[in-house]
Symmetry: C3
């Protein structure tokens, strides 16, 4: 993995040549960089899922990584292409909320109903830019594929040494959506299914800190699970454990919990103490 690391997270799939074209554009501008695919299978135009999956993954990359995230239903309209430099990494993406979970982990939250858009202020020590200078883009600039024509080239130029400030103008606010937050009532935490992974596991937004004390019971879609187990094979039936993102996860050993239960993203999950 020679030179600067550039990750790609998109909804472009791998069937077409979209990802290849982005990688080629980067290779042309920054031949010493290394491109790593995070995922290209974000559901089409699903900014919320892209934001969620990107954030669970980006924290495992080394400091200084350049992350390009393109889930961009507004491509070709007035939405701003942005670059954000933090103390740990650089993020290049449309300004459409796709960094919302990363922002929230840094304490930057929008206070609205879940998934409603708002603005967060860029904190001291971070630098954000509206990417405005077309001299760092491919031309003719398409109106439908800024991943190839704008975001990949800007990432390439940055990897090759061009400062972000040369490619855009400073901005002080960025777009984010409000996160769906767990509710806590006495003896109970109420969250939701944030993501269903490849195995059909139901990943929730309920962290250890949200949970009541005592012997716990988990409810989802009319099913009741007694106790939190440690590993997938600690039960032969439906189970709940703390998953790899640190939140309550509901799984069915050697089977697909989402299909078995008929549960979709957004479903409510309750954890309460039997006491």
């Amino acid at each position: 993995m020679a030179g600067p690391l550039i990750t790609l997270t998109t909804d472009f799939g791998r069937v077409d040549g979209f990802v290849g074209a982005m990688t080629g554009a980067i290779a042309t501008i920054a031949p010493d960089s290394t491109v790593i695919d995070i995922t290209h299978d974000i559901p089409p135009q699903d900014i919320a899922t892209g934001a969620y999956l990107f954030n669970t993954t980006q924290r495992y990359f080394p400091a200084g990584t350049i992350h390009v995230i393109v889930v961009d239903p507004g491509v070709g309209t007035h939405r701003r292409p942005i670059a954000l430099q933090t103390e740990s990494a650089t993020f290049i993406c449309p300004d459409n909320g796709v960094l919302s979970y990363m922002f929230a982990d840094a304490g930057l939250r929008v206070e609205r109903d879940p998934f409603v858009m708002g603005q967060v202020g860029v904190p001291t020590g971070w630098n954000a830019f509206h990417l405005k200078d077309p001299s760092y883009w491919l031309h003719p600039l398409s109106t439908t594929f800024h991943g190839r024509d704008l975001f990949a080239p800007v990432a390439g130029h940055f990897a090759a040494g061009v400062p972000l400030a040369a490619m855009g103008t400073s901005v002080v606010e960025l777009t984010a959506f409000a996160l769906p937050l767990p509710r806590e009532v006495p003896g109970m935490a109420i969250g939701q299914v944030m993501h269903i992974d490849r195995f059909g596991n139901l990943i929730t937004n309920l962290r250890q800190a949200h949970l009541p004390a005592g012997q716990l019971t988990v409810e989802v879609a009319g099913h009741t699970i007694h106790g939190i187990t440690a590993a997938y094979q600690d039960s032969v039936y439906l189970l709940a454990l703390i998953g790899s993102s640190g939140t309550i996860e509901i799984a069915y050993p050697n089977a697909n919990a989402a299909k078995t239960l008929g549960v979709a993203k957004g479903a409510e999950v309750r954890v309460y103490s039997a006491r």
Copy 2:
């Protein structure tokens, strides 16, 4: 992306180990090269789609890139394995038409009914070779997987410095199929859907230059679209715009146009002037 760049375009999918074996074969011979996947999800044995998608992507790679394209229903028969060096890149593939769109962009066209095979002459400045020397292949050579046993090793040896002329004999003609070309009648251009992308967008072969002057109307599968818009979000309903390959594209914002309209590849698209 240290050393020579080698791209792979195949119909091997990613479920089996086919792509891994090709990459391993290259790594063994040319450890300093970098392998980039364009796509491995060309529909099985679909040379025409492979030729189309490869050509939309390959132009974004830097000069000197080595492209390996393996959509190869004739593997193990008399079809020739070839290598072609142009002023911009090297192409290693079966001689079965998979470079036809790349040839056409260079002015090399077969004049026949669409998709019927013919020959094009290798122009001055390009060098083409029939890869004949088995000392640059893996052995035992399978009859079913020349991607791993022949094309990848030849790409590796070329990346490692072996001239193409050492690995084969010069040829003066290469196989291509005739492209489906738009027809123009007074006030109207008639093309077809060349590709349906991951988003369900219908990508046609109608370029700006084919279109009549004036206010345009687009017809596909009994649906009529008034006007050409600039971006996907410029309509809440079916729209037409100039896509990222420079041709008319029909899309349904935040939905799948192909599924919504029930349109398949090859469908006729008409663009006419209301004047």
Copy 3:
């Protein structure tokens, strides 16, 4: 492909960020290494398919490659994380049989009913270790994703120069399952479908050495194929040939044999001599 080569074979799919997180963890620890994906589409928890596909592919990588294989239904339980160094490569994986085909090729076989688990002895010249030292893992160690938290970091540290012996304790036996072996009766070899590839080809466990002499007939699912052909296009109907792994393979030219015949993995295949 600068520095040490690390391959990844998993059942994590590419839709979530699992593979990205593993790659990021490696990049953080071993920035000079190169990560290559063999496949991430092993069916969930299917150790036998993972073992089979990994082994058909790993032999094409250069000596010294570090292979990480994570099909790990027992994650978080007592199953041992192991590392094995042979004369040709290093293997890092759960001790759950996922190396069984690689072992068998080295003469290490379990004598039991097919797919039943047993132990094989680590031969002289190989070194195997139970990975026990948590100082080489990510923390907090999840109970559900040791691919990211244990196997990838250990591979990274090994690529960066830490000896395996520093990361675990020596073991003398490793887990393997018994392979389904062909039976030979006079004039006939009876094997089974080991894998159905992307094209729907039926790949069996019948090698040339198993086959009777003379003009051969192949039977599968009530269908009879006369003769072994050389290439996919040597027939317009169902055919049998020696595939790229050196075993009898049944294919349907330009179609999907598995779907056409309704054959699944495990189906019996008979080859007999007409004499």
